[in-house]
């Protein structure tokens, strides 16, 4: 995650960076001239430099991106033309650098807040922002819990001589995870978190 106020780019609000990224992306999509697109890539790299993003060693995941870009450019050169391939390669690199810069310079919590604010108009169709906030934090809590549960089940199955069958792992994982999700929900209800509907009144399953 990003260090607070490490650069002018870090200090910009998440909303302004998102808006800038949207405008930049739209401009890149509309531009077709490789020279303009090269200028766009240069601009994106300049912003990344101002933000002091580490280029050496290259950030995690860039190897996949580079492979994808290479394939995309080659496919384009073969089926269309070298100019089109160059334009596509430049456009995608500029977009990816810009998007990665916004993500790297913005705290996930700030970004989440801004994105959730964008969802506020959905309140009219029944999307409760408080429920969304709760669901978001539950999701983040459940990810490591699921990983832990999966390795626990796998170890137990390995001990019984059952080896790596996708359903053999999936079923107990889902059953136990759903049961624990229900337990978490009941605990939240017991602490009177208000949802639009009354809590589940069916008798507890054991």
């Amino acid at each position: 995650m990003s260090a607070a106020s490490a650069s002018p780019v870090h200090r910009l609000s998440a909303a302004s960076k998102l808006a800038a990224l949207a405008v930049f992306g739209l401009a890149l999509v509309l531009a077709g001239d490789p020279v303009v697109l090269a200028a766009g890539l240069a601009a994106a790299l300049a912003v990344a430099r101002v933000a002091r993003l580490p280029m050496i060693p290259p950030p995690r995941g860039t190897r996949t991106v580079a492979a994808v870009l290479l394939v995309v450019v080659l496919a384009n050169a073969v089926t269309v033309s070298w100019v089109a391939a160059l334009a596509t390669g430049l456009r995608l690199s500029a977009l990816i650098v810009a998007a990665a810069t916004v993500t790297a310079t913005t705290r996930a919590s700030a970004m989440l807040e801004t994105l959730s604010a964008l969802l506020r108009p959905l309140r009219k169709v029944g999307v409760d922002p408080e429920a969304v906030a709760l669901a978001l934090s539950l999701t983040l809590r459940f990810v490591p819990q699921l990983v832990e549960l999966a390795s626990e089940i796998r170890a137990a199955q390995w001990a019984r001589g059952l080896d790596r069958h996708p359903l053999a792992l999936m079923m107990p994982l889902l059953v136990r995870a759903l049961a624990s999700a229900d337990a978490v929900a009941d605990a939240i209800d017991a602490r009177t978190f208000s949802t639009p509907e009354p809590p589940n009144t069916e008798p507890e399953r054991r």
Partner: protein
């Protein structure tokens, strides 16, 4: 929607994220990594139903956009939404919705109907969004993009089968209402 629904939505979103930890395979055709994550998309629809299934996937995309590395290979952030494969990602909520909607059409969804729903929702819908997106961003025609993406179909069919088997036996054992 009560708190249990909310927790189950969060759980399926988390499951889709956790499936990303199963190592992805990058097929060097058009550069879309093959992951176990779409298994979670199909399961969301088949287990939770259309609206809650779509909500689970939308929730996950929100977290990914915020920068959490919840996609296969530790990927995440806004970069995932501008990559050539972004169409396949953006299709997840719609895929889960269609899968759930189709499963609900059947009175007693056994393996075959659930598998069909997974194929239509989890494969056909995803490709209907993802392939034109690849064609548009990469600048190749639809045919080329489709051929490049077709290498994933065997893996996708396998995932549809696993998701169907899991969803059917979950509904039996837990008496889940889709």
């Amino acid at each position: 929607m009560n708190t249990r629904d909310l927790a189950r939505i969060a759980l399926l979103a988390a499951l889709t994220a956790a499936l990303g930890l199963v190592p992805p395979v990058l097929i060097p055709a058009i550069g879309v990594p093959i992951t176990a994550q779409t298994l979670g998309v199909m399961l969301s629809g088949a287990v939770l139903g259309p609206l809650r299934g779509a909500a689970a996937q939308a929730l996950l995309l929100l977290l990914v956009a915020a920068g959490f590395p919840l996609l296969a290979g530790g990927n995440g952030g806004l970069g995932s939404f501008v990559a050539p494969s972004a169409g396949f990602l953006l299709a997840w909520p719609l895929s889960a919705f269609v899968t759930g909607w189709l499963v609900r059409r059947f009175r007693r969804p056994g393996f075959a109907p659930t598998f069909a729903a997974n194929v239509l929702g989890g494969i056909v819908v995803m490709y209907a969004v993802g392939v034109p997106w690849v064609a548009l961003t990469v600048g190749v025609d639809l045919g080329t993009a489709l051929i490049g993406s077709a290498v994933f179909i065997p893996g996708d069919l396998l995932k549809a089968g696993v998701a169907a088997a899991a969803a059917v036996s979950l509904r039996r054992s837990l008496a889940l209402q889709v």
